[in-house]
Symmetry: C2
Subunit: 327 residues, 2 copies
């Protein structure tokens, strides 16, 4: 069984971890893993150059989460992390005063930067780094080319991470720009992973700056629309608020209500030019099921809070079942 997930950071990583737990249970490989092949296509629009090192927040969150190295409490970064280097950098009056950079995380960034400098394309770099963590999935960047999400505000544009982390998304966004996207191509394997999948899942990642960014890479949206596999999404909005992060600020910026049904309609039904066939909403949004069904959606309500791995595995099961792909 081949499953392709289009993912941002924490939400997508946690969903995929639950999915792998489900698959290990239903399609075990005899070694604690699964015979199912899961490919994760990760957003790289949050990536940036910071003091000469290349930082890839979503790829690292996926790698650490699926590799068992993530700091569970914060959902990103490494467990047992220290900040010796960044503290000392600050003593020089330098460093990232708004961006937490741990020593272990820095090692990942330095390793990545070195491999990029050697001329490896990003997907090969990811392959090299992931070999250490054995995430149990094929982890692909959406593109080998640098695409950076910038945020348009009344005071000019800034890198998404600066807006998100430094300003906590409190500066009103008027829109988002994918710098470099016109020259970007899907990384090798991305289009194939969408075309050859038995099911494509859009986990509860940020619909605008994570999922939307991946969909913005030329060719990805068309591949998603063309695949024979059903495409099923899980709402990142519960009861009118994002479960995590500040997706509401992103939705507002593009004129979409922070509402489970509105997000579904934003992605759109494949039958009518969109990218999804089915949509799983939280039980708290059960009132959206009727209206969406009336519009042609396969939709169900379920518990969608990813409180732990078993709950997330159950969510993954409901997600696959919604499009009749429960193994």
């Amino acid at each position: 069984m081949r499953i392709t997930v289009i993912s941002g950071g924490v939400g997508g990583a946690r969903f995929t971890r639950g999915l792998l737990a489900l698959l290990a249970d239903r399609l075990p490989d005899g070694h604690g893993g699964t015979t199912a092949q899961v490919t994760v296509v990760a957003n790289t629009g949050d990536d940036m150059w910071l003091h000469g090192v290349r930082v890839c927040p979503d790829l690292d969150t996926l790698m650490y989460t699926l590799g068992g190295a993530v700091h569970e409490g914060q959902g990103w970064g490494r467990r047992e992390e220290s900040t010796t280097v960044s503290t000392d950098l600050a003593a020089y009056g330098l460093g990232w005063d708004w961006f937490t950079l741990g020593d272990l995380d820095l090692a990942t960034h330095l390793a990545r930067t070195e491999l990029l400098r050697r001329g490896l394309p990003l997907h090969r770099v990811v392959e090299h780094l992931a070999a250490r963590w054995r995430p149990g999935v094929r982890l692909l960047p959406m593109s080998d080319q640098e695409v950076e999400t910038h945020v348009v505000t009344d005071d000019g544009t800034l890198h998404f991470e600066e807006w998100w982390v430094r300003h906590r998304a409190a500066v009103p966004a008027r829109g988002f720009v994918q710098v470099g996207v016109e020259d970007a191509r899907p990384a090798p394997g991305v289009l194939e992973a969408l075309a050859d999948a038995d099911v494509v899942v859009v986990p509860p990642s940020n619909p605008v700056v994570s999922v939307g960014t991946v969909l913005g890479v030329p060719g990805v949206r068309d591949a998603l629309r063309a695949t024979a596999a059903p495409v099923v999404g899980v709402s990142p909005v519960i009861g009118g608020a994002p479960v995590r992060g500040m997706a509401d600020a992103c939705l507002t910026a593009i004129g979409v209500a922070t509402d489970a049904a509105a997000v579904a309609r934003h992605h759109g039904l494949r039958a009518t030019g969109g990218v999804l066939d089915a949509w799983l909403v939280d039980d708290a949004d059960a009132d959206t099921v009727g209206p969406l069904r009336a519009e042609g959606w396969r939709v169900q309500a379920a518990p969608t809070l990813m409180t732990d791995v078993p709950a997330t595995a159950a969510l993954a099961a409901r997600t696959l079942a919604l499009v009749d792909r429960m193994p």
Copy 2:
């Protein structure tokens, strides 16, 4: 009083620390320092790009030693150092297996690299970094341009640091090449520091790849020959062996005996086309005093082992006294 020191790493740094202790005692400024102005012109031929960060071994050794942050036991690097990042890099199959890179040291390299990327010339970068450590001297790189000492061996050439640190200078060197030196200029302040000094000191640094490299920057040798100040050197060789490091391998490569008198003759008397007026040898090499005097040298024997700061201050006193510049 203005003193200019032409320095490599550990030897020059320790000598300068003793010199500052002497000056603080003889020419106190009332705040624990000295009214004397000491300028150190540092070798940057050992500098290198390592995984995208700029490493400047001699500048850092000077900065840490004079700033009280050096690891005394090893003579270079930071005290209370850790290796979290390099250990984690190694887990990626990357990193510097032959080059110890501590976390605190890495912070210095990242700070430097960031400032270089911002477009600051190296001497301004050094100024910024040194502001934190307050070394009590004006620390100048020999040049803002990148000059890298490469070692010629029978199997090709390699960077000096690789030969020195990785191969422990055990691969026979056939000579040294200063890559980039023809395009290098003395950093701002270097020629003035030589011209305006009351005395110029060549401390017991490596005569070939430290002192020799600084002298190789176009204009430096001429400035040294032209200055009105006396130029006095301290032999880095005691009893036919380098006190520290593997200077013998460097001397052998250029056909100079590892011998206090031979090193003096290699530098040469200013009166006959060289760069020195006077030469301080160790008591163990007292037999060289007569012959060198016969050749026109001002030369004396003294205890030259820099066992601690007081002993080094005494050595600095003997050095200045030799050219009648003892304050």
